[in-house]
Each structure stands twice: as C-alpha cells, then as structure tokens.
Symmetry: C2
Subunit: 464 residues, 2 copies
C-alpha cells in the first residue's frame, strides 16, 4: 500500500457513514441517555448495534458509566455481549448484572463461549455462572475446563453435527430436519464409524447439491483434519490458517469425536497470538484500553526494569573509557549515533525473524541461509552508513581519523546487529521460549555494548 492509498482509505473511513463502524457520536448519545437515566432511549440507541459493538462501547467508556449503563440496560443485556467483552472488564460487568439477567444471558451461549467466558473469572463468579446453566450444559462446561488452558479441548464446542459413515444424502437431510438443538453455525456433517471416530466430513454445499441417493462417503472433502483435545490452540489456529479450514473435528485420547472447532475460534486465537507478538516485542505483557493507570504501570514495569539493567551495563562499558572521553569530548557527542543505528538495524532483523518464526516461514530448512543473509545485509548497510556518518564526523570535527573510527565502529556494530537480530530469536525458539518475549532486550543490549565498546575502544587505540 503506498501512502496515497493509505490517505485515501483513511479519509474515506472518516467520511463514510458505513454500517459497521461504531461512530463516536453514537457513544456520546448513549452516555447522555445513561446520564439521564433514560432507559427507552438507551434501548433504542443500542438496538441497531451488534453485540460486538456494544462490547466496544462498554470497553471505551469509564468504569462508573459502564456500571450505570449495564444497570440501566437491564434485561436487554444478552449472552453475546458477554462473550464479546474484553477479559479486562468482564468481571466488572458480571458483578454489575443482576443474577436473573446473568443467568438468562449465559443460557443462550454455546459451550465454547461459556468456557471462554468463565475460564479467567474468580471462583465465586464461575460458580454463579455454572449454577445458572442447565445440568447438561454445566457438565459440558466443567469437562471442557478440565482440559489444559490454551488447548483444543478448551477451544472446541461440544455442539456438533455427525452421522454414521454409511448414510446417504437423503439420510442426512432427514436427520437434520428432525434434529432439535442443532448448533447455531455448522459447516460440515462429520462422518463417524461405529467406535465414534471421525473418518471424513462433507460440506453442507455438497450435501445440498447432491441427489438423495448419493452416499455421503462419496462426496467427502480432502481438507478433513482431526485435532486432539490436548493440541495447543496455537497449533490449531496455524493449521486453520495454513489449510484454509472452516471447521474441524476434535477427538479425545481414545480417538472418539468430542467436539468441533470452527473458523471463528481459530481467528480469535490468531488475533490473540498476533497481539501477544506485537506487544511482547515492545516489552508489554498485556494491555486493555480499559485498564487503569496503576494496572498499566505494573504491566510496563518489568521490561523497563530489565532495560534499566542493560542500560546500566552499557554505562559501565562507557565508564571504562572515561579518560578517553575526558580528552576527546567529541566521542560523547558521536557515540549515541553508533548505538542507535545498531539498535535500529538489530530491531529490523529481529522483527522480521520473530514474524517469520510465527508464520513458520523461518525453519531449520532456511535458518542458515537467513543468518548469512542478515549478516551480509548488516555488513552492507554498515558500509553504506559508515561512509556517510564517517564523512560527516570528519567534516564536523575536522579530524579524519575520528571519521575513520566511527565508520569502523558502525560497520562492526551493524554487522553484529544483523547477526544478533536473527540468531537471538532463533536460539530462543530452539530453546522452547517465545522469541518475541526477550529478543528485543537481548539484541539492543548487544548493539549498545558492542557499539560503545567498538567506538570508544577504537578511539582509545587510534586517537589517543
């Protein structure tokens, strides 16, 4: 996307009155209605909004307004809103709902949505919700909660559509017409053998477009993939994305069909993974726009603390060259350039590597090629910027040797930056750690230390 297009697009966004962007004026109107305690107006304003938009409204307003809105909205509050709400304010919202509203709201949800809703709540709130569910649903939810967090078992819904493998299209249609309690959304009929193991699936499109006497097993899809309940949700989401899946059966340890994962679950996980990567690269653990300043401060503090130690390490390196700096103050002026360029080049290489590891474009098959490439790129960009910065420094301070020293230091630092930028995340990944989590600090520590050491060390040798 070039910049012109970005500009056009964003301008269009502001101008169009499209029906799927929540406008600020709507939120203002809603807040006014809440402030006036005008329930009919509030309900009228909320009526055209999708549950996801109502959740956004709740996330974007203040705590007191949130509670007032929920109370005024009363019985209109439904389960979909609850499952769209950000984790950060879910407990507040649940606490603000009357027991009857809460109980009606959760009864509407599929089992996977209830699981997603309650898994991070405190014990008493969990109990309140579980108690509101009919016996069968409660058992289903409790069983889902028995699977490890972030597993396919937590992600799947138990509501599914299956039939014996010998059925025909006609059997399937007759079954579906008789069936009560079908899932809200389903995209395949899963075929199972007598041991309840899923063996194939048919798309609803193929079933609908085939004559009644066709056997289902003759119109199955190649895309069929089965997941184990214990599978990591991240792996499931990767497979959905890679193979363009819409839904997939989940089996227990014995291979029996116990649930189904649908594309919306996978998209949610992909989105969360992405958020995690982008925030972790910046040293932020988690973040909700509804967090208070104190919550936010505590979430930012750990990586600032790590950064403080690495900054002190860099200061210790510099202090080794105090005598040199006292003699040549120009070094103090120029040294941040060496460190900053190295940090930037390292961050570029690092971000590319972290992203490529996440999308599995960087694997053992091409790791060595990519390492060599990044080292070469660092070296080449080092040469390019060294010549510019070296010349400028020479002209600035009228001292050719100073230009030579900073140029050499920059080539060294950008070369090391490229290497560290790819080797650090690769190593963390190989060690089973998230490469996004600690790479940034490692890499900028390396480029700071190498940058200051190379520049001041060379200066001490050449200029003193």
């Amino acid at each position: 996307m070039d910049e012109d297009q970005v500009t056009e697009a964003e301008t269009a966004e502001d101008e169009t009155d499209d029906d799927y962007a929540l406008r600020g004026s709507v939120i203002q109107d809603i807040l006014e209605a809440v402030h006036d305690g005008d329930q009919p107006r509030l309900i009228a304003l909320m009526e055209p909004l999708h549950a996801a938009d109502i959740a956004d409204v709740l996330e974007q307003i203040g705590h007191d307004e949130r509670v007032a809105l929920v109370k005024l909205y009363g019985r209109e509050f439904d389960g979909d809103i609850l499952s769209e709400i950000d984790e950060g304010i879910r407990d507040e919202i649940i606490a603000a709902l009357s027991p009857e509203v809460l109980s009606d709201a959760v009864r509407e949800l599929d089992s996977d949505d209830v699981v997603d809703l309650i898994e991070d709540l405190d014990e008493p709130q969990q109990e309140a919700i579980l108690d509101a569910l009919p016996e069968a649903d409660r058992v289903a939810v409790e069983q889902a909660l028995s699977y490890p967090e972030y597993s396919a078992g937590r992600l799947m819904q138990r509501e599914l559509v299956m039939g014996p493998e010998h059925w025909t299209v006609g059997d399937a249609i007759d079954y579906l017409r008789r069936a009560e309690d079908l899932p809200d959304q389903f995209y395949h009929m899963i075929l199972v053998n007598p041991r309840l193991e899923p063996v194939a699936y048919c798309t609803l499109g193929r079933i609908l477009s085939s004559p009644r006497d066709i056997a289902l097993k003759d119109i199955t899809e190649d895309s069929f993939r089965v997941f184990d309940v214990s599978e990591e949700e991240e792996q499931v989401a990767y497979a959905f994305n890679q193979y363009h899946l819409i839904s997939a059966p989940v089996v227990d340890a014995a291979g029996r069909l116990v649930g189904v994962i649908t594309i919306d679950d996978a998209v949610r996980v992909l989105d969360e993974e992405h958020e995690e990567d982008i925030l972790r690269l910046a040293g932020v653990g988690e973040s909700n726009m509804s967090d208070t300043a104190f919550e936010t401060m505590w979430r930012r503090l750990p990586w600032l603390l790590v950064n403080m130690f690495t900054a002190i390490l860099a200061a210790v390196v510099i202090s080794q060259f105090s005598v040199t700096i006292a003699n040549i103050v120009a070094l103090a002026v120029l040294m941040p350039i060496v460190a900053s360029m190295g940090g930037n080049a390292g961050t570029q290489a690092l971000t590319v590597a972290v992203r490529a590891l996440a999308t599995r474009d960087l694997t053992s098959a091409n790791a060595w090629r990519v390492v060599r490439r990044e080292a070469l790129v660092g070296f080449l960009n080092g040469l390019a910027f060294a010549s510019v910065v070296g010349t400028l420094s020479w002209l600035w301070f009228g001292w050719p040797e100073l230009g030579l020293v900073i140029a050499l230091a920059m080539v060294i630092n950008l070369f090391i930056a490229g290497l560290a930028g790819v080797i650090v995340p690769l190593t963390l990944d190989r060690m089973g750690l998230d490469p996004a989590l600690a790479s940034g600090t490692f890499v900028t520590t390396v480029t700071d230390v190498v940058g200051f050491f190379a520049f001041l060390g060379l200066a001490t040798l050449v200029l003193m």
Copy 2:
C-alpha cells in the same frame, strides 16, 4: 500465557509428529530427489503435502533449487500451489513453468484467486495467464482488475450462489442439485430481488434442516451485511472479524449483486495487516524469507536513513553541552540510561496505541482518557526508576546532586515518552497516515532529544 506454558507448548511442537507441520527432514528429502533428478521420488514425496506446504517448501529453498524443483515436478504442479506462493517468488515460479502447465494450473482457480495471482505480475506474465483462461473467466478477471487495488472488488469471487427472494427450501435444493459450476466453497444462499439486489441470506445449515415448503425468507440470518465493490479491503476484513462473518455479498455502484467475499479472503487480509503493522513498527517495509541480501538491504535502508538523521539531531543536542561533559565525564557515562529508558517507555506506549488503533479499541470516545492514562503511567514509572537510577548514580559517583539531576531528567523523559507514545500515533491516524509507519522514529527522536537535553541541561544548571 505464562512462561511455563510457553515452554511446554513449544517443546511439544518440536516433538510431535503431527500431520500439519512441515518437517525439515521432508524438505531435505525433496532437495535430494531434485538433486538426483528423481521425478517419481519427488512426486511421491510431494503427494501427501497440501498445496500450502508445497508453497512453503518452494519459499524456503534457494533460487536454483526452486527452478529445478518446478521443472522436475512438471505437470503435477497445480493452480492451488500457485495461489499459495509468496508474492516475492511468484514471478520466478511462473517463469519456470512451461506454458501448458501454467495454463492448466490457472484454469483450476476461482476468479478471486486468479486476480490475487496476477495483480502484482509484470504485463507479459499477466498476458500469458489471461490468455490461458477461457473467454468468460478472462472477462471476469479483467473486470475485477478494473476495481481499485485493495478494494472489495479485487477481494471478491464472482462465483456465488443466489436465488430469488420468493423461493422455498425445496426450490433452493432443486436448483442446487441441477446447478453446474457451483463455487468450491459456499456457506450461504443469497436472496435477491428482481433488480438483482441482495436482500438477505440463509445459511446452508438452516436450509438443510428445514422442510421443503418453508420459504427461504423465513429462515434468513441476522448477520447479513452487504459490501460495496469500492470498499477498502481492510474495512471488509475488520467487519468479518468484528461480526464473525463467514461470507458476505458484494454489490456494484447500482446495488446489484456482483460477487461474494468469504472468510478465507478476510483472514488473508487480516494476516497481511498484522504483518504490515509489526514490520512497520520496526521500520521494515516488506519482507520475504526468499528475498536476496540486496533486496533486503534496500528494504531496510530507508528507515535506517531516517534514524541516522534523528541520531545526528541527538548528537547536535549533546554537542551543545560539550563544555559540561568535558568537566564532568560521568554525564557521558550516564546519559544513555536516560535516553534508553525514555525510548523504551515511549515504545511501550506507542505499540499499545498502534495496536489499539488497528483493532479500533482506541477511538475518539476514549482517546482523551488514554492520553491522560499514558501520561500518568509515564510519570509514575518515571518516579519509580528515577529513584533507583538516581540512588545508584549518587552511590557510583559519590555525588548526591548528580543523582538528583539524573532522577529529575528521568521523570521528565518518561512523562514525555508516555505522552508522545500515544499522541504521535493518534495524530498520524487523525491525519490519515498509518500510525505504525512513522511513529517509532518520531517517538524515539523525542525521547532522545528530551532525554539528553533535560539531563545535560539540568547538569549544566545544577552541577556546574
């Protein structure tokens, strides 16, 4: 996800022989077969792989191996592989395919996949592919290419399933059973009025589970949303994600149904947007693992150049205080700590803001609240780290006033970092620019300049 779980998950990933992760050993075997010119072995090795995995193999091997593989694979090469292949090497692959193989390959694809395939190719390659298509398909593709890049018109497929609004379930089933050339995947039947305007849709699940005499208009879905051909693809993807859509009709300027967008298209756009955000935050325009070192160097160079100018600006600030530094070398030792902590705090605030703008969690409704929060967080973290770093500096150099100066400078810089971290992306967004694109450089320039100026300025006032 806490760290233990990450470790478990990643370890499991390395150990499991799951059927949806491409293993390095497979790539090695494939390369051997290519090297030996062993076509039957190559075909046998590729047979179990999904087109997306074959595309990954091609992306991860070197240029010469890639060409050799494509040539040896010969007629087995199909259209799905072509549409899974990364843009960066698409032209290489197409050039390596024989005209007959290429022509067979593109004939299998849906119109949106052909559009996606050829929109970035050179004129002669575009021509070659268009010529291979049957007349009707070629017209469809050429029409799609007449819509602006990154629009719904480019994203949609023309193959769709529609019926008149007065149809019953039985009419729909009879039509589908007779229909030839149904799309590979479809999830809804779109109902149109006599002017061919889409008015509603039914899920296939509802059609299948309803008796034949039920009117389709009585079983339509609330989720129905219509997009205009000129809509930005990013907006479409946002709506798919926000409202959990599976497919949606696209209309031309006259409101007539011209195509349909499905969830896989939207997921691809979301993925591209993610990649763009994360890479732009690091100052990398685009990146493919298959890029050469020279391509990569040119893609990294622009932001390094910008960073060079901002680093020189910081150096100019420092140079104003040469006399002070010459007198107190400790300042040169400590000053990177002030800048580094500010840069880090600014990047944290910035990344959170950029992400929240992308997910529309940060809007005009809560912008002011978030700005105040970030300023407060910066100030509080400033106080916390100022006291630690101030005390350490005092002890290190045995000079209480020096500790006081660095503490003050840090409070100022982290406060400014928090403010800049959120105000810069908000302003860029308001101006219609991508907040991810330039924010990082702006913010670190601010924190460098403010950090050096505050620290060295205060030192000059207090310590000299």
